[in-house]
Chain length 336, copies 4
């Protein structure tokens, strides 16, 4: 941490700030410039709230020096973490495709979709049994019945199951059926939930909140890693901006930024990040080209009858086309 | 809902869309313009996902006509809801002040602060026992011990207690000690939690998510109201924007907008909405001038030693000054 | 400026960075922490692009220490700048009201409106002769004819005229008729225009761009001040965010922030910052309560027939009511 | 346009709104729903400000039906516009690469860079002679001298020149030297400038404002097209969001959205849209994969000594590598 003093601050104020910093166990080093003085704070200051020092007399601002995450950082762990999924290693050369409907709507629907996405090249099956919905009047998911259908679809197709847990107490139930537990965008900062999945022996797919910075995403990953679970994939799924032509704005920059900052595999969700099926394939290709390790995509047999997210769901034949195009891009990049 | 057809759509596509809309129980009415045709969908379409119709051939877009919330709307409930708090009615003429530290840090701290804010004019005491923190390395709150100290502070001062519940399973515990259960910004769309507080007999203070729209805030209020709990206060606490000089951007527009759209009382949190104590008083005054029914403010005896949110906490004497200035504004507006 | 080295950087990289910094005329001072080293750069580094140092091997990031603006800063000029307007001094105790239509639409319209706003308590008359419009198919303003009508309205009422110049070559023409030259939000970073108004002997009302930071607003003011024109008022007029219920989001925080950072008077435009007349009065009151030195408000005799900005224009009687309420707030704050 | 009446509006209010709409030359058609009534407005309503109707008694809101742009729209002009550049047609199969320094800093610099980017595969040379800079203390460009060096570089390499005009009066001068006139992001809504380039016989590269929607970008293109100049390329260069790890957020969605909405060629600028050279190549690949017709990239022989934008400039050898990788992606997509 750096503490910048105000130009008009006094020597006494400076001494008081230094004393305060040292009283909580850090060393200090001063640099006197022409207009102001800065105090370098030496030591691992991640646990403290640096802004508290901004309330001291004479202080203008504080600046962070260290990255706030450690376990998620490449600085501490330079090698890529590889996460097993259906015989592949996510984060290695091969790109993976996780596909399926937004919601499990019924037994036939999920079984048919599972077969369809498998045939089209999917690596794993997604589908929600517990659904976070903006409106209390919307379909809220089938609950455990939906999980059972997902498990049945896995039996039938061999595809591992990716599905969301929405609260700490749901984790044991979801873990019983799922291969990968998804933490949804709205729950990225549900810290009790992050702690809960940090203790289970299941891969976690952590989606970036629509309002969250890349740094906050990695801080949430840090919660899971700090709990002892190292099998974490982080997922860009679009952020909220002023642009309203699409549902969200795909932060494609986040792909190379995350690959640089963290050793965890990076997944892109072009369905949520665009919100309209017409743009999903183009953005899926862009994700692979930017270096994503995989994609998670919504696929529905009949989007105009979907109980949720119909507008952004691909039909199976369009998904097959998308997989084919993404594979061409991957090959052009020397991946597979 | 309105469905706008593409300029180049065909009569057959139009018929198919009409048939689809009518098959799910709505009536339709067409308007043929010079460049395109629109379909008016008649009936309460709130439960369906209108965007699913955007996947039908020939459809360009859909537009919502009805407000998505009902119970929270003034259209359905024109009279102000008045929420009792410490002998006052929030939403009526008198403005209320909820004040206290970000976190309960210890017994002495909360007792002293409670006395100080009471003396300065506070209506209720705030303080967090369970803290959502971006970093797993930060102070996470005292838990039930913190709740016990809050209850003790209520005994000592008579101030009702406002404190946060972070997950559905915490609700019974928090309800045991609190007078008002706060739903924090990060949990505004934690729907299981909203359902849980919808079933308890305690007032709910629902904070707007930092990147949630006003409409989404009211949809979350709708969850609580739909559960049967009518004692809800909504709270503007700043939204996330590109401006970085302050921690958040106070959406002061939200105050008159909310007063127009909903019958629920509207509270402003100038501590979080600015993030720096120097601006809290000015924005508190602005909130009262804009028509807020009350304020929730962070107060700490020694901000530079606060375990959380020190930078945005007022010292008790500054809080007293703030109350005094806000009361002058309220009087100038014919409130008390 | 601070340069933060990467944790894995080498001593040789550090030396090279230091050498590069010193080669362009700065002194350096090092602080070696436990995980990384930082380099303090000493001297006025405002003219250089600090990010260029981020391309040097071993550098992780740079952090600014000095504020980038000087002439606009209170650090250099602690006393309030007072700008004369119609016998008052903007920035002193009395709050001012600038009012009038978005566009000058005709002689009768502007004359009638001028009389109406004067009677309601306005300090100055606003009205656009040159209009920046999103669509080439919209009304673009009356040009010089509009300026002549404004001058005639000044003759008739004694109200000074505030009107916009959109390009450097318009400045002499606008300066011939106007008392205050407005720089619109879309032109806040039109640097040739800023330079042009920096050289005229007229007050400048500089509006914040809808997606410009407070710092960028002050940098644009710096252009005008650096040109020699010290009569500058800065104006918050709402920023663009994800919230779509209002046209823009009033950044009310900007009022106390600007009052702290700069000595220039601060004006709020609640018409543009809300975009809907129903919210203008509430936000106007909030602006005065937050410490603004004045307001600029759109007033139209018949908003539903306005050629531009009808939705956000007050009728004269509502404007009179707004002035009255704002004066009560000002009095409550010890202003006049 | 659709006008939505308030649920509590009266028959008399409805009649008055209908009468007002018809008085300005439109036809109306009503749809009475269960909770409210809507009025369909028939006719080309693009020239009027629909929000003015929101001020009429009983009106809740208005909704646009028609796209506000016409000449830029694929609805009116389904075939791709192909823009000639150095013997290629931008918008056809081959992707183009426009490259060069942010600023022309001197004769040697631009000549050497021109040769280097040509060798690496560039189609055209970029370089700024007039520079919009946030700070008045920063390097502002060489002016006409810079244009002369650019022309000399064209002579030497055969690369056409892309360079920015910042104000209407600069257009003739810039047109004298440039092959393509760039309108920078800060000037996207400088309408006098758009009108000026609408009348010259030079291709225009129109960059999206950092605060502008896709629709506003196309409205600005509409200004140029309406002036008679059909040779327009639109350019995504990143938008401003809350994410601060990168300078801007690349709105990769905008690429397929623009390709769908308009017939004009779409260019991506990964240098500005990321702001850090480490991410430029990944985002350049993503742009091609998303369907962009070309890229504009900043290249500098020695980024750490660049007078502007050093942090986001590629060295020539990295640019050559980028071109090679982008060509592989283009080939994988069946382009060249």
């Amino acid at each position: 941490m750096i503490i910048v003093m105000k130009p008009a601050s006094t020597a006494k104020q400076l001494s008081a700030v230094v004393a305060r910093v040292e009283s909580v166990g850090y060393r200090t080093s001063l640099i006197k410039g022409e207009e102001t003085t800065i105090i370098g704070v030496i030591g691992d200051d991640r646990p403290i709230d640096r802004t508290q020092f901004e309330t001291l007399d004479g202080v203008e601002k504080t600046l962070p020096v260290l990255k706030p995450f450690k376990l998620a950082s490449r600085d501490m762990h330079p090698m890529d973490t590889l996460v097993p999924l259906n015989g592949h290693k996510v984060g290695a050369s091969k790109v993976v495709f996780i596909a399926g409907p937004c919601s499990v709507e019924g037994r036939t629907q999920i079984l048919e979709t599972a077969h369809a996405v498998k045939e089209a090249g999917a690596t794993a099956l997604r589908g929600g049994a517990f659904k976070p919905r903006t409106s209390p009047y919307s379909f809220q998911g089938l609950g455990e019945e939906g999980l059972q259908y997902l498990a049945e679809a896995r039996e039938a197709t061999g595809l591992p199951v990716v599905t969301e847990a929405m609260s700490p107490e749901q984790v044991p139930l979801v873990a019983k059926y799922a291969d990968v537990i998804q933490i949804g965008a709205r729950n990225m900062q549900n810290y009790d939930l992050l702690r809960a999945v940090g203790k289970v022996n299941k891969t976690v797919l952590l989606k970036r909140g629509m309002m969250s910075t890349i740094e906050e995403l990695l801080m949430s990953a840090e919660y899971v890693l700090a709990g002892g679970n190292t099998q974490v994939m982080v997922c860009e799924r679009g952020i909220r901006t002023f642009e309203k032509y699409t549902r969200n704005t795909t932060d494609i920059n986040a792909v190379p930024v995350l690959k640089q900052l963290t050793h965890l595999p990076v997944i892109l969700d072009p369905s949520h990040s665009t919100g309209k099926w017409e743009y999903v394939t183009a953005v899926a290709r862009a994700g692979i080209a930017a270096g994503a390790d995989g994609l998670i995509v919504e696929v529905h047999q009949n989007p105009s009858e979907a109980l949720s997210d119909g507008a952004q769901s691909l039909k199976p034949e369009k998904f097959a086309q998308m997989v084919s195009e993404c594979r061409s891009i991957a090959l052009a990049m020397g991946r597979s």
